[in-house]
């Protein structure tokens, strides 16, 4: 796998040098409003990773809070460097058979401040690149939720780096890159506005793979203490909701009607899913819970992500409602039945929410919202639904299989899992020699 990819990359590099000039950017007009919103959006998406750190950090036990924060911030550093060195080129660089980019843009060569003709043609190419970098950062960070509290730091770093290279970059290329297999630039025409497949299904399936490969935490599920700091989780959810406006609305690539529409439906879907989860909580557990409402909100945000630029506000309510129900069932009913220990429900919320959102996009999408998009099932175009389903299945299979292989290979070199003793002591102390909280001053 690795070898053939490397060979392909080398061939691509050589051919890229030969024909590279033909793919140079056009000198389109830079629009200051579009650029300002995209850069703001990039900063908003960046904040989602620290937000996620607190969301996850609050949900783990006291002895593991730092390990989760550390993993999130390490990803911010590690993936950023990977993205600049070759990740962006693999994901968005000149196409190789619709599967992956070549290394023509490695080290950000040919990625200047002029606009690119295809990727957001009214903003500097570097602005698009750094916006996309934030997506590449948060996607592996979502997976942390599955292996939290038991994965060692070094194998975590190796996994993150290789996962972004071998899973995130190809899938981003299929869906978003020029001439990618599934995308709208000469591909199959799958609609994925801000990353239902690329980010959420992708991360969700890798999370499921990680939960299976690492096995359950000691004492899970019955004897795991409740979240050690729910207010942290609420703070994190707030930051995620805030950052999601950049995630979805700035994915419009412009600062106009499309961005406004995406902004509105993002907010509406989050609200609808939050209410849905609370109602389900009341029906089944007699009380609305804080963790329930924030989980519902995140599920709604996940589900609206692929649909954001294509659906109406009423469509967004339907999508949020469906996300609340689907994720609730998976988190509280299916997970206990299957018995895997997806510690913080990375698969249950991001995987299931992403699958629902990608399919729902094929149902509720309408050209009335975005003439550049497509109509879905409810607007007389069932073909779009089929395209969405194919994209979902391909992403699920690829992400799950490659993640399993990666984890297996890394486990052969250095054990993924902390020793029983270290797991008991907690990863903060055993992996980082620090503690989040002191008991004595």
């Amino acid at each position: 796998m690795k070898k053939s990819l490397l060979t392909a990359a080398c061939i691509a590099l050589i051919s890229g040098i030969a024909f590279g000039q033909a793919q140079e950017t056009s000198a389109a007009q830079i629009n200051s409003g579009d650029t300002a919103w995209l850069l703001t959006g990039a900063a908003l998406v960046m904040l989602m990773t620290p937000g996620l750190a607190f969301f996850y950090g609050g949900l783990v036990r006291r002895k593991n809070v730092l390990s989760v924060l550390m993993q999130c911030f390490t990803i911010l550093c590690l993936v950023t460097i990977q993205w600049v060195l070759f990740g962006y080129s693999l994901a968005f660089g000149p196409d190789i058979r619709g599967f992956i980019g070549n290394l023509h843009w490695a080290g950000l060569a040919h990625v200047g401040t002029a606009a690119h003709a295809v990727y957001m043609p009214t903003v500097p190419h570097q602005a698009f690149m750094i916006f996309q970098a934030m997506f590449a950062v948060i996607t592996p960070a979502l997976i942390i939720g599955a292996f939290a509290e038991r994965m060692r730091f070094l194998p975590f770093c190796i996994f993150t780096f290789s996962w972004v290279t071998l899973v995130y970059c190809p899938v981003a290329h299929w869906v978003w890159a020029d001439k990618g297999l599934f995308g709208t630039f000469g591909g199959m025409g799958a609609l994925d506005f801000a990353g239902g497949a690329v980010v959420h299904i992708n991360a969700g399936m890798a999370a499921l793979a990680a939960a299976v490969m690492l096995g359950r935490r000691q004492g899970a599920p019955a004897k795991i203490s409740p979240p050690h700091n729910l207010p942290f989780a609420v703070l994190g959810a707030g930051l995620l909701w805030f950052g999601w406006f950049g995630f979805n609305s700035a994915s419009a690539g412009s600062s106009g009607q499309l961005a406004a529409g995406a902004f509105v439906v993002t907010h509406v879907a989050a609200a609808a899913a939050g209410i849905t989860w609370s109602v389900l909580d009341i029906v089944f557990n007699k009380r609305a819970t804080v963790l329930g409402v924030i989980t519902g909100i995140v599920a709604g945000l996940v589900a609206i992500t692929p649909a954001a630029g294509f659906v109406t506000p009423m469509g967004a309510i339907a999508i949020g409602f469906g996300a609340g129900i689907g994720c609730y069932i998976f988190v509280s009913v299916m997970k206990p039945i299957f018995g895997y220990d997806d510690a913080l429900d990375a698969f249950g919320v991001h995987g299931i929410g992403g699958i629902w959102g990608a399919i729902a996009t094929g149902i509720w999408a309408t050209k009335l919202v975005n003439p550049g998009g497509a109509d879905g099932l409810l607007y007389g175009n069932p073909v779009q639904l089929w395209i969405q389903v194919k994209t979902v299945l391909a992403t699920m299979a690829y992400s799950f299989v490659v993640s399993i292989i990666l984890l297996k290979l890394i486990d052969l070199v250095c054990s993924l899992r902390a020793s029983d003793q270290n797991e008991r002591i907690g990863l903060d102390l055993s992996e980082h020699r620090e503690v989040g909280y002191t008991l004595l001053d």
Binding site: G219, R424, I425, L429, R433, E434, V435, L439, L440
Partner: protein, 113 residues
């Protein structure tokens, strides 16, 4: 009447509690403590500065029992709390002079259960 103080590994709390319940000992007081046995603590490092000889988190559990429950309680704590590794903790058994139930004013053995 005896007063049993046990210092155990934090993650053994649930197991010990279960074993005690099996022996029908329901009344316990539990607190988070820090301590250091022969294993010493794990040194922490902050900005390359090592804080040596730090303490480890433990759970202190206190139980007041009548004589016939002393051995069952010790057995329960040992079987639930043992991992076989250094740091499993200790049990201290103290004589208890008096016990008073605040609600009723009862004293002695009846006030314990």
């Amino acid at each position: 009447m005896k007063y049993i103080v046990a210092v155990i590994q934090p993650d053994r709390l649930d197991e010990v509690l279960e074993k005690l319940t099996e022996k029908e000992i329901h009344l316990v007081t539990v607190s988070n403590v820090m301590g250091r046995g022969r294993q010493k603590g794990i040194a922490e490092v902050y900005r390359s500065h090592t804080e040596a000889g730090s303490l480890l988190k433990k759970i202190k559990r206190e139980i007041a029992v009548n004589e016939e429950y002393v051995q069952p309680a010790i057995d329960a704590i040992c079987s639930g709390g043992r991992t076989g590794q250094i740091g499993d903790g200790k049990i201290f058994v103290l004589d208890m002079k008096e016990c008073i139930r605040i609600r009723t004013g009862e004293t002695g053995g009846v006030a314990i259960g």
